[in-house]
Symmetry: D2
């Protein structure tokens, strides 16, 4: 897979290892019931970097994927997997559809998003902006609200990408159990952006919420995006949902953050808080109902091979990356980063 | 307010009345505890229509708003209303901020979105696509799942825009109660798009989910967007969440629609189902904590005037409009509409 | 006609008169053989300005055109005027084509471009950038290279928009002569942008030359765009065409400016020089060959009414405006203007 | 170098050889006094093609360039070459500028444009559209107007890329002469698009002229773009410049094609004719005046190495490619290609 990142200003220290480290966070980890396909993605920088710094030219990146075994997919080519885009792809691309492992719709494409995120996070750091993400829920198990310190410390040490260690243990058990049943389970990932200045985003057509949501729905399996109090606002009164302004250390902040750092589509200086709903991986070994596209009749499918019982932990770095990419774009447009570098 | 709609093909029957009817659905209705400011928006077509049909040129529309009374807002100019974009706007636009009633961030701008939606819905009808929306929840009161017939029949006959009449009555009572307490309440709006062909949307960077979400977050007060099973996927197993394919009347459909009509970011031919969380209107008469921006010290604010106790019913047509605008754009790009007209 | 300008930062002093003055420069002037249709365009600001300053919201502008007399155009509805877009429009928009005076393709639309230019020039002035344009050639009569001072002083005092007064006189005579013959004549307009900083534009996909050319070809009647030495480079050697760098007043400049201020698509700090070829107005009273679209047979057409013998003088302000709009966009993206205002 | 082509529909027969053939046309040819650096660009398809057909996914292409010898450029790093973007790049990217051979501004980037053109031309062929280009002028030597047959037959058999063989011989002699003088020379390339349907392009903001010009100015060294009669319209009367409509074989055509196939920014069904002015390659061995950026004082530069005496012949395929890319985009949007493939 090759990706090209355009718009990165000149002068950013960048080496392949920076990107490799991020891509590695997307790999399946032992003890999470996740796919054990060895995806030894090696990142190579093709262009845009000279003597260790970006030059202002597009950054070309390359990752060599191991060959996909097409035969494996040949058998079920005309049996669209429920919950996957197989059927859609079949109608959209007809007989030219690349049906191997989801093809165009494969989760593998998220490696590219993580590579972009790696560059974006390095740029955001120059503007003092930090982006975090963590597993907030798997099945019915919810992580207890963790401090920023816990999130920073625990998430990538932990195969579950969960800041709450006790919850992580129970999540592991759930995944093991669900895996044994030949099933999979969904979850929720929370993303945070800290130290974002007031005023990013334009009302109506270029809101930060809109751009973040569009980017997050680019991640396969995401079915919902909410900011701050999110869907819980439906049951709230304004008297509890409005975040009171207050002066703290000569700075204006809000006492609560139900707005998730965004008011009127524009950042208000509080942390951006966004949560995404991740559906259970549709590939499961349990027999499912489907149709035979050739015979146009009902059929059954059992998907062999090892698959992620929950994609949530592996998707944490993807969520983090997409938030970073969007905020980096806003920060660049606002002149926040350019000024620092040069 | 003036708006310009570009990209409408030539030959669509269009008169001001078509747009007026939609704009009127956004007006506050008696018995919903909503604002009684008479906003007699009269729509005028300035260009792009000749002898009753669109010409292919940009459609210029005009709505004359009654003069806003600036003095009313003068008093609280430096007391940002909690939950509003006042503070953000103040930092973003400085002393040039139009602070009258939210200015750039005012809900009034949604009249423009509804006008665009009116044209989009007429175009979609030519491709056989129908868009609906209805109040699904206000506070803790949830409408019972209604048939399409009920939604079509009841929503715009009903000040609550709710297809479930019994729920509508309880919602009215809740709104009355909350209004008496000087407070406001949030809710959920559900949108539906029927008869959408398979294959609209492009994976990753141009998904239907992404574009719909971006458009829906353009609506002030929306804090969450979910498709199909939405956030409930977090607790689900794939065996219950995957929608089994089946042959019905020689057509491939899914038995359930947890995907909300979208797989891999691309429409799968089932109804698109999207739900948005609407926060309680931040303007309330109850005293709230804020800061005095001039003195940089804590202060109190009580917002006078009548305000919507729940903006949900008035936002139903806005949600419907935004869905229509996005799908119309996809349908035009896919050549679905052009071919029918000419 | 209504136009909406989005992206103008808050805080620009703006009143209708600023825009009116520019729009008036587009009106036909006595003694140029130009159309005498009284187009008393009155500019009105609908939104985006509060207490004399822009607010950061979209600026809505309105110009009331006098009613077009459709009957006048009815007769020749199916006789496409050679050199006009009538035939193209007929096929593109079919029976819904607005055939009155060119409809969608009418030169009237340039009033909107001039309004946008008026705002852009005010913004550019804040960054110290000045945009000029003048008539360089009409028919075979070329203006002699004028000083910036002559251009600034003479152009808008002169119905020909020509800085070289002697040439202007001969141009007037030519126009009178051509008009008597029932014909029209083309010309060349030169645009200049002064004090443009080094580094605006991105190589390949976002060059200043590319964006300027795209904007200038938006002007009806423009058939060529060249920068600096332009088409004369074809006959030149590098030893004469390369602009030697030199140090002048401790600043690096070039001794000549064959590059027209742009190297590699990026501004180099020298004045931007661009020339556009304007074709003779296609509406002439002399009989021309055309086809009858209804009968599909050859026919003749004589276009009645008064028309511009040369559109060049009236197009000078349009060229100036388009250059300003493009550079303003680059300047805003580069943060040149925002910083100055706030 | 890696490039990614997005938006190519599924089902196009495509192999690396198709692209290689086009890229090879960009290589310098013996007897044209052109650079003899062996650029053995080998094209590799990384993604987007499965079993010989495009899949609808982005097409990733790779070309391995031989290592650039940085030392060669080290010496003149602070002596910007007149006519090159060195000075501009130096200010834009500061000390991070990739100064090797023009870096970001190097003509090498045009290999990517040619690759995109290769795919675009294959798609256009499915819609019956053909794109051609040829050398129309080098120095003062102009090719005599050639028939389409001559252009198709001669151009790529001929190192000068010139359809007029007699002119080609004189161009060769000129180039040899200019090369001996340590100088270089410019020229004009003409591009043609045949069988383009009526109605591509949208007036004002999306004209075919505007998009073609923007794409053509992306080619380094292009300083002018004109359509049809181009700059010669300045001296013309409408009575000679207007193209009379006439019925021919029951089809409406124009007797002449001064409009170059485009009226009002929209194609009129006649061949698109566009001409671009190409400046003399700025790299010459003759001593030139420049400045020493470190010492901020005047200096001299002699550029060693072999360079193209005229870049015109090598740029012919680039012009052809850019025209194809732009028209392909219009054709796809108009649904011309999609329908044919599936």
């Amino acid at each position: 897979m090759s990706i090209i990142i355009d718009g990165c200003p000149a002068g950013l220290l960048l080496e392949a290892e920076d990107i490799q480290n991020e891509v590695d966070k997307r790999r399946p980890l032992a003890g999470t019931g996740q796919t054990s396909r060895a995806e030894a993605d090696r990142v190579e920088i093709l262009s845009g970097v000279f003597r260790g710094h970006t030059t202002g030219a597009p950054i070309g990146l390359l990752v060599w994927n191991k060959d996909v075994n097409s035969t494996e997919y040949e058998e079920t080519r005309f049996l669209p997997r429920p919950g996957h885009a197989d059927y859609t792809a079949n109608l959209k691309y007809g007989r030219f559809n690349d049906y191997r492992g989801g093809g165009r719709f494969s989760g593998r494409v998220t490696a590219g998003l993580v590579m972009a995120g790696a560059v974006a996070k390095k740029l955001l750091k120059l503007a003092g902006i930090e982006v975090l993400a963590h597993t907030a829920q798997i099945g019915k198990i919810r992580a207890i609200a963790s401090s920023l310190e816990q999130i920073r410390r625990n998430v990538y040490k932990n195969p579950l990408r969960c800041a709450d260690k006790a919850a992580a243990t129970r999540m592991s058990q759930l995944i093991e159990q669900v895996g044994k049943e030949g099933d999979s389970v969904g979850g929720v990932i929370e993303g945070l952006a800290l130290n974002v200045p007031v005023g990013l985003g334009e009302p109506i057509f270029d809101t930060t919420e809109g751009h973040l949501a569009k980017a997050l729905f680019a991640i396969p399996a995401v079915k919902g995006v909410e900011f701050g109090a999110g869907f819980s606002v439906a049951e709230k009164r304004a008297s509890e949902n409005n975040d009171p302004f207050t002066v703290k250390d000569s700075k204006i902040v809000t006492e609560t953050n139900n707005a998730g750092g965004i008011l009127g589509g524009v950042t208000n200086g509080m942390p951006i808080v966004v949560r995404v709903a991740v559906k259970p991986t549709p590939s499961i070994s349990r027999e499912q109902k489907t149709v035979d596209l050739k015979k146009m009749e009902n059929a059954k499918i059992s998907i062999s091979g090892r698959h992620d019982v929950s994609i949530v932990p592996r998707a944490v770095i993807v969520v983090e990356s997409m938030i970073a990419v969007v905020l980096c774009d806003f920060a660049l447009r606002a002149g926040l980063i350019k000024r620092i570098i040069i």
